[in-house]
Structures are given as C-alpha cells and as structure tokens.
C-alpha cells in the first residue's frame, strides 16, 4: 500500500502546485513534471508489471484516474488562462471610437454635369442619341440655317461673340440640329439630345452668364405633332420636378419653329397656388420649343411635306437652380468646393 499512499501524495502535491501556477508556460512545465516521460506517474506506470494481476488492475485504475484528473485540471486551467489573456488583450485594445475618422472622400460631379446626365439618361431611355457639336461654330449653322438670315432683328436677342465675320462662339445648341440633319444622308427619322456650352454677350450677374449650358432635343419623323412634344415635355417635367407636376404650352416665337411655345410646369414649390419662386403665377417656364419650321427642314434637306419634327431647348443652369434651390448663376462657375462637394450625394428620386 506504499504505492497507494504515493499516488495520494502525488495528487495532493499536484493540487498545491497547480494553485501556484500564474502563466501558460508554468502550466506546460507542470504537465511535463507530472505527466512527462520522466515523471513519477510514468515511473509508477512502468513499475506496474511487477505487481500481481489484481493489484496491477487496482493500481492501474488509480494511476489512470490521477492522470485524467491532472489532465482535466490542467486543461480547464489552460482554458481559463487563455480566456484571461484574451480578455486582458480586449481590455488593453479598447479605443475611443468617438475620435475622428480618417476621412475617405471621393470627388463630386459638378452640379451642371449632374443635371445634364440626369436629363441625358432620361432621354436615352426613350431612344434618343446624345449628340455634341463644336462650340466654335459657323454663322451659317448657328443662325442662317435656323431661319435667321443676316440682319434679322431676332438676332438681337442673341448678341454673340464673333471671331471672324463667319465664325462665332455658338449662342445656342441648335446648330447641332442642323449638323445632324445635314449629316443624315438618307434623310431618315432623327431622335437626338444635344447638351453643350453656349455663349452670349451678357454681363455676368446673379441671373446672367456670358457662358451657359443648353440642352436641345430634336425629333424628326413622319406625323410628329405638338401633342408628341407635349407628352415628351410632360415626361421631362415630372422626371425633374416630381410626379405631380402639370405642364402647359404658352404660344411664343422662335425663328426656327412654327408654331412655337414656351414650356411651363406647375410650380414645384407651391404646387400652383403662387409663391415667390413662380412669381405668383403658379407656373415656371422651363424652356422653349415648337414644331420645326419648314424652312429649317428644307435647308437641311428634309421635305417638309413628308416630315415634321419638334425641337425643344432649355437652360441647364436654370433647371439646376430651380431643382437645387441655387439663387446665383455664378455659383456654377465660382467652383467654391464647399458648394461642389454638396453634390456628392444621391438624388431623392
């Protein structure tokens, strides 16, 4: 029974040493001390062969039990100690999450570009091609082929920057219509949208800009009428200013359309009751339009007896000002970054 005593003593000594363990290394050493190849338990196990069968069984079971006890105790202490290590790391890792971030920004589109692309996407979805033309343009395309011969009083409304007698900075995007119709050899139907920069001799102030942006649309086909223009404008107005917008035509005059109309939408601010944005009228003018003048069709090689068309034009600055509540047109050209970065934000549509 000397050996039984020894097992008991081993257990007691293990318990007391285990209590002193402070880190994982000591724990590993402890395991080697008690369960390693040179441990007393291993020595005892080796000596079991010298016992008779009954004693051996009894001793073997006791040794196993001790071995399991030590293993379990060490494992559970290890789990606890590992958890303690993690917990203390978590504690020391903790940061002030309220300190400022590393700023991650991407650039913003210019508000005019944003407005242009919005309108472009709408018309692309209706099968329009986006067409561009030169900003330095011939008088021929900018005026004459748009039914505005030299000396025509209506040219007064578009005081232009000339480079030579025949070349000018285009005062409107309409010459792109002419170029597109002329370039169409087979004189097939046309559905285009022409955005671009335009220039007029206006002194810059809150509502005027010598450089501005227009978007022009042209549809030429058989059986195109004012009703088609009205429907198209209605889609645009609702897209830009909300589904509950109403639209109306007001008779107007443009040399390149006949009949000509102003495109009005019910005021998005007051809904038509009248406010300072619509100057009390309940309506806001978005642009001008009309049925393409037969002279314009003829000059560009389209037979006005076979084809009709509608054209519309609008100022992008005006639309952006209305849509985003910008009150000074110079905002677009000052490029104050505090203004521009506001446009890095999704729309509400």
């Amino acid at each position: 029974m000397e050996k039984e005593e020894k097992i008991k003593k081993l257990r007691l000594s293990f318990d007391s040493v285990l209590n002193e363990i402070t880190d994982l290394k000591e724990l590993n050493d402890l395991k080697i001390t008690y369960l390693g190849k040179k441990s007393e338990i291993t020595e005892l196990s080796k000596s079991l062969g010298s016992f008779d069968e009954a004693e051996r069984k009894e001793m073997g079971a006791s040794l196993n039990e001790l071995r399991n006890y030590i293993n379990d105790s060490i494992d559970s202490l290890r789990v606890k100690m590992e958890l303690d290590v993690i917990n203390s790391k978590l504690e020391s890792d903790a940061i002030d999450v309220t300190l400022p971030s590393t700023n991650i920004t991407i650039g913003s589109a210019h508000p005019l570009e944003r407005t242009i692309e919005d309108i472009e996407q709408l018309f692309i979805s209706m099968g329009y091609d986006i067409v561009e033309g030169p900003e330095v343009e011939q008088d021929l395309y900018n005026f004459e082929m748009l039914n505005l011969p030299k000396g025509h009083p209506a040219r007064d409304a578009q005081d232009s920057f000339y480079i030579t007698e025949e070349m000018l900075l285009r005062s409107q995007t309409s010459p792109v219509q002419v170029r597109t119709m002329l370039a169409n050899d087979k004189k097939e139907p046309i559905r285009i949208l022409c955005p671009g920069k335009t220039f007029r001799r206006d002194s810059d102030d809150a509502t005027h800009s010598h450089q501005f942006t227009q978007i022009e649309g042209l549809v030429v086909d058989k059986n195109i009428s004012l009703a088609d223009l009205k429907g198209t404008f209605d889609v645009l107005a609702k897209h830009l200013f909300g589904k509950s917008r109403e639209t109306r035509f007001r008779p107007s005059f443009y040399p390149f359309t006949e009949p000509s109309v102003e495109l009005d939408t019910s005021c998005f601010n007051c809904g038509g009751k009248g406010c300072n944005i619509c100057k009390g009228t309940g309506w806001i003018t978005i642009g001008g339009a009309g049925v393409v003048h037969p002279n314009v069709l003829k000059m560009s090689g389209y037979d006005p007896e076979l084809y009709t068309g509608f054209a519309f034009g609008m100022g992008v600055e005006r639309i952006a000002m209305l849509k985003y509540g910008i009150t000074d047109i110079r905002t677009f050209y000052n490029n104050d970054l505090r203004s521009i970065v506001q446009f890095d934000k999704k729309g509400g549509e």
Binding site: S101, I130, T164, R191, S203, L226, V261
Partner: protein
Amino acid sequence: MRISLNWLNDYVDVKDENAVEVAEKITKAGVNVEGIKGTNIKNLVIGYVENRTDHPNSDHLNVCTVNIGTEVLQIVCGASNADKGQKVIVAKVGAILPGDFEIKKATIRGVESVGMICALYELGLEDKEANYDKGIHVLPADAEVGGDPLAYLGLDDIIYELDLNPNRNDCLCHLGFAYETAAVLGKTVTLPETKTTPSKENIKDVFGVEVETDNCTMFKTRIVKDVVIGESPAFIKNRLTSAGMRSINNVVDISNYIMLEYGQPLHFYDKDKVGDKIVVRMATDGEKTVTLDGKERKLIADDVLITNGNDTLGIAGVMGGASSEVDSNTKNILIESAMFNPYNIRYTSIRLDLRSEASLRFEKGLNYEYTEEALERACYLLEKYASGTVMEGHVSYDVVDKTPKTASVSRDKINAVLGMVLKHEDIMASFKKLDFKVIEEDNVYNVVIPNRRMDVSIREDLIEEVGRLYGYDKIVQKLPIAPMKQGGYNPKTSFCKQISNRMRSLGLNEVRTYSLISKEESNLFKYNKNEELLLQLPLSVDKSVFRQSIIPSLLKVVDYNLARNAKDINIYEISNVYYKKNEDYIEDTKLSFAMFGNYINNNWQNRNIKIDFYVVKGIVENLLDYLGLNGRYTVQKGTNIPNEMHPGISAEVIVDNEFIGYFGTVHPSINKLPIFVGEFSTNRLFSHNTGGLKYKETSKFPSITKDIAFIFKKDVEAKDIIKVIRKKGGKILQDVDVFDVYIGDKIDDDSKSIALSLTFMDTNKTLTDDEVNALLNNIISEVETKLKGVLRNK
C-alpha cells in the same frame, strides 16, 4: 410696350372686364402681359381746404382743415403751397401709397393729423426729382368734393406691360393690341375717328415730294396750317404718361400719340422752314449732318436722308434736324408718314447709337395701311386739339406692293401639326376671331392675311394662329410613335465620361470654368504655338481669348478656394479647347487637374497623406491603367512640358510613342505654393483606346519573392533600372517594386542606393529556389554591366 386700358377701351370694349383675367387670357394666347400696374389707390378723395393756420410748433408746417364731403379732417401738411380755398387730393387713413406707405392717424409735433394732402409724385404719377418743388397738387375749382381724384384726373387707369416676342410688332401700338384683345375676347374693333374738314387750298399746288431711292417705299405728306401750340388735353397727357412718355406740347404730343396708337412714327416739320419740296435720297460716304441733339453725324452711303433738295432735314427714321424743327412759333405743319427699308433704319440707328421708339418700329417693318391712316388721324387731332386747318389733298410717293397676302392650309394639316382633332367650325371660329378673311373649299382654308399681321405669311403661321386661339391646353398629349431603338452616347463622349467618373473615384472634384480667358492667361501653359482664337468684340479684357489650356482657369479656382480657407484642393475639368491651324479650327478635349494640400487627412494620428509628385503620379497611372493602357505608357522627364512647370518636378506621359500630356508642380514663378497640375489630350488618349476587358486566369502555383539592393550613380533613373530588370527577368518575373531609396552618409555623395523586391512566378509549374536564384544572378550581372550598379546585398 405699355398699354393703357383706358386708351384700349376706345377701340375694344374692355371697361367691364376683369383686367387680371383678360391679361391671363391674352398671355395664354401668346402675347405675354408681363405686368399689370394700376393707379387705383384706395381711400383717395377730393377735399376742400376750409382753413389753414401755421403749425404752433413748427416754422414750415401748416395745419389744414379739409372738408372731404362726409367729414372735416385736420391734416398737418408740409407743402409751402397749401392754402385755404384749394381743392386737393386727400389720402385718408388706410390709404396705401406707392412704396407700401400706409397713411395712419398721427400726432405731428403735438398736433393731431388725420390723413395726408398729396403731391402727384407721392401717388407715383409723376417723377419725384423733377416735381418735388411743385408741392401738393391743386385741382381745378370744378373738382367735386368727396369724389375720386384719380377718376377726375383721368388717371384711374390700368397699365399692361407687354413682353413682346420679336415677331409681334403689330402689338407695338394700342390699335394692334386691340385686335389681339378682340380676338381673344371674341369682340370687334372700333377704329379711331379721322374725318377732317379741309380748306379749299390744295397741298398739290404748293408742295412736292421726290424719292430717289428704293429704300423708301412710301412717303406721304399733308399740311395743317395755323396751328396753335399749347398744352395737350388731359387725356393725351395722361395716356402718354401711362405709356412712359413725357408731354411736351399739343403738336409734339400728337405725333407721339399716333405712334402709340398706330405704331406709325410720324415726323412733323415746320412747313415754313422746309420750303416747297422734300427729296428723299441716300447719303454719300463721308457726308455730314447735324441732328436735333446738336451733334454732327458722319454718314455713309447706306443712310437714308430727308432733304429739301438743298439742305438735309433729317436722317430718315432715326432723327430729324434742328433746321426744320417745330417750335413754339410754328404755324404751319408738314406731316410726314413714311416707310423705309427696315434694314437701313436698323443699321443706321445701331451705327449712330440712336435707337429710339420710332427707329425700333421702322426697323421691325410697318403696315402701309396704318401709314396712310395715321396721316389722316394726325390731321384730325391737329384740327381738333391744335386748332389747325387741314389743307386739301396729300402729296405722296407710293410704290408699296399692295397685293393681298394669302396662304392656305388644310384641316388635315392643321390637325396633324397640332395633334388635335379640330372640326370645321372650330377652325372657322378662330379665323373669325382674328378677323382673317377665309374661303373654305374641300376642307382647305384660303386665308387673306391682314397687313397688320406681318408675322403671318405661311401655312404653318396659320396653324399656329388657329391653335393658339383654340387653346393649346386642349391638346391631348402623347409620346411619339416610332420604331424602338437604343439611344446612347457616341464613343468619344462615353470615353470622356469614363475618365470623368474615374477622376471622381480618385477623389477629385469636377469644376466648370469659363472658356474665355485673358490674353495674359492664354500665354500660359500653352500646348503648342498654334494660333489662338481672339474675340472681335470681347465684353472685357479678362474674357477675350478662347483658351487652349484649362490650367490657368484651374489655378484661379485654387486661389479662389484658398482665399476661402480651403486646405485641400483636388479638382479636375474636362473641357473643349480650340485653336487655329492654317485655316482650320481645331478642337481638342482636355482633361486637366490641380491638386494641393493633403490627399488623405488624419491629423490626430499624424497619418496625413500629403499631395506630392508620387501621389499625383499614382492618380495618373491609375487612370491610364483603368483605360487599359497598362504597359503601353511611359512617365518620363520630357521636352514637351510647358515652361510654366517646375523643370525638376514634372513629367510627360507617352503612350505608344505619342505625347499625351504632362503633370507636375507649377513653376515657383507662377505660384509659390507647391500646386500640382496636369493636362492631357483626351482626343489623343481616345486614339489609343483599347478594346474590351478580357479575364486572365490566376496562377495555381506559388510565387517566390527576392529582395536585392544596388548602389547606382544618382543620375540613373528608376525607370531604366526596372526596364533592365524586367527585360532580363522575362515572363516569370511578375512584379518589380522599389521598396527603399537611400541617399546619405553611408554611401558616396554622387550615389544612391535602391532596394527592389522581385516577385517570380510561373503559371505552369512551381518554381524551385535554384531556378529563381539562377535567374536572379543573371539579372544582377545585367544590372551591373548595363547600369554600373553595385550589388549591396541579396
């Protein structure tokens, strides 16, 4: 154009109409009534000053007792002309005068005052500056106490302010606007009275007209003798005032009155100063004349002149001369009612900077019927209001083509263009309202267009007339019916939009600057020596050239934002630039950017990423890689870089041996701050555009990385080191990365140490260390021979 409703009512009955509703209807039908101004101020009354005493506590105020019929008010008045026994205009408590000035009961220096005695300028009826000294307005004795003073003065008028489309010159007169009003309201027009009682004496016996130019098509004259120059009757004065013109005397006023009535500018000559004939001729180049304003004018051969055969009497349609002017002693008046070639009047008036209400009407073209009628009307008014005697007959030159203007349109065409379904009755009703004569035959309407409507001449004009009167609000809208097709951008636009999106992703904000810049700016950052586009007539010197580079504009934006305390500026713009090459106008679309400050901010961790050459280079390379140009571009020191760039901190970008653009720091002489800019030709980039994206299988085999360091002479460029290594490394050398550059004490002054990390990988097998080492040794000896690099460690 300003329209007085009192005046309009002479020709079309509008007195019982609601002025606001009528304006709305007219606007909807196409003549834009932009503003409505009324002089119907409430709570004004005619009062009688029963007594006036000096104010006890003031040396210039009066205390008046004013009877206004229903009661007697005590009013303190500051006007020096206020006196007992006057009939005056009283603004009662509650009246709101122009400028939102509300009359309230007040105590002025201890005396109670209930109301205000008014001057005309205080009611907005006269100019304040010119009439301030006149004091309060004293009404004639027949004014009825308690009555409405504005009605008594004929000033209870409503004014429409028209914003006319340039084609509607028919509405530049009350009569023309009356036809439009009648059409909209479905009423008829009453024409003005023109009947006179001429004397036996016939003008033909005493006067002649000769016209020697095609640029005058009608020149009609009559003579009215023995006029008495004096004040105009109140209605003429009031109506001219309403229209924004000043009353001068009865004769001058009549000529202006008729211009506003018929749209026909007249000229009145002092017959006795003219002589016995008028000759209309073209001026000769260099000829001089003195106009009414006393200025000498140099003429050209395109100016039309009115002469008496010897002396010039005036420049036709533009301005008369002093020699034949009507003055207070004038007795006999020669009236001219004429038509000239609008283009001549337009160019002469623009050239001499003498555009007037009259020249404006001449240049827009006149209705010959009114040219005739206005002459008769002038005689009538001179007879009635200037006591003149009209001489029998007129002397006229007249070559106007009077063939009636006609156009035809079918019902089908009307409905096809308007997109409406108008019935025969609807169309006829529109023409009837317009007072157009129509004969309908097989659904085709043959229309005689009145001369007053010069804007109507072709089929489409008739369609518009029918449509606008029927009402565009009755259009049933639809979308065009056409074969379905895909819409989209052209490839170049698409390419630029892709670049734009990538620049934004890289953190740059899009800006839009003016294409016109100053001459000084245009000399900076010039792409090449091409001829620039100069404006003939710029608005200002700072916007006189169409730019060839966007960078000067971007530098201005940088300054603008720095001045507003911006710290970090990352901007780009894509814009067209133009220049002239030989006779051609060349367009290029430039991508330009400017960067300053930090690219990424993290102050408290001291981890800001400052914008320097290598950040900017990273942005440029990212863009080029995105465009699929990886391996096809080189960034190098270059000769194509403008002088405005820092020569040591700038590089050019070459794609397939073509110069695409440059970037780097601006030269310190341009800006002391380290501002980084770049400019690229998207046209050139586009010409190297790549096809679609193709997926490359990733390798299943591991890679091996080896680090080596060399010492080189300082002038050996990283670009060449990498090139030599890559060439020798061949296909299995996947990547070469510089991870350290050292210049300092530990090596010679003229040397630098560069450490590189080389990654090897074979897509077909696992590389062995021996294979890689063998290759690495080859690479090392190549660097040693080609670049004189000395291996530091391996």
